[in-house]
């Protein structure tokens, strides 16, 4: 179980956030969009949007990567921060942006059928 309050932000510090309440185990996404955006797996936990307090959001850029889905990153340093299904009321947050320790372990791997060919994806 994660801490009751989680903090995090981008590499340059222009965007910072706090999240109230516990966070579920993250999912590691192997899809081509996540791998292309992150240059890594997309490893995200999530919380209701109203539990976030975001500072420096003028530096937060959004890219609509497919209809109804957008990805948030820092326009100054390029750090990947958020993934959102627009209108869902939920906001996914990239685990790498969380100030360690997160207290979380990966719960599942998803979109393994779209995994990269440069590694052996886990079998689960």
């Amino acid at each position: 179980m994660s801490a009751r309050k989680t903090s995090g932000g981008c590499l340059c510090g222009a965007v910072r956030y706090e999240i109230e309440g516990p966070l579920p185990p993250p999912s590691a996404c192997h899809c081509g969009q996540c791998r292309r955006h992150h240059g890594a797996l997309g490893i995200y936990t999530l919380a209701p949007a109203e539990r976030y307090k975001i500072k420096g959001d003028r530096n937060l850029a959004w890219f609509e990567s497919s209809p109804g889905i957008r990805r948030g990153f820092c326009r100054a340093c390029g750090s990947k921060l958020f993934w959102e299904r627009i209108g869902s009321g939920q906001l996914d947050v990239a685990m790498g942006s969380i100030d360690p320790p997160s207290g979380l372990k990966i719960g599942r791997h998803i979109h393994l059928d779209d995994a990269g060919d440069y590694y052996d994806p886990p079998s689960r």
Partner: protein, 152 residues
Amino acid sequence: MAQDDKDSVRARGHCLCGAIEIEIRGPLRDVVVCHCGQCRRQHGAPPSYTAALWSNVTIHGEKNLKWYQSSPEARRGFCRLCGSSLFWEPIGQGRVSIAAGCLVKPTGLRTVRHIFVAEKADFDEITDGLEQLPHSMSVAAASPPPTTTVDA
């Protein structure tokens, strides 16, 4: 440009929105996963990087490539429109690391090791049995082979 350049392209890649396209001629280094704190923050997860000589890399749409200098020695290149991570460059060494996720399949690449495992985050799991180094690779190992084909 020589007529047969098209045939000598080793790999192609692009960012998520397609504003930046890259072509790499010549050899690519095996893929290395970096678990350092800076990479984790910038990518949102531990990134997988191959590497090449800059002289073998062609970039289309370079006006959309933004650089962020993350330390005195290195800078990180990403698409200013979609935020995709593309490059990590040790400045002035004539080589660049390229995010494997941006490359079009089949890449013909294999992951061979994990580095900066001493900085690994608590959520980060390594289950593939590959070599793990606590910190960086040696300079020699970090450089792509200058003339040979891809080799482990």
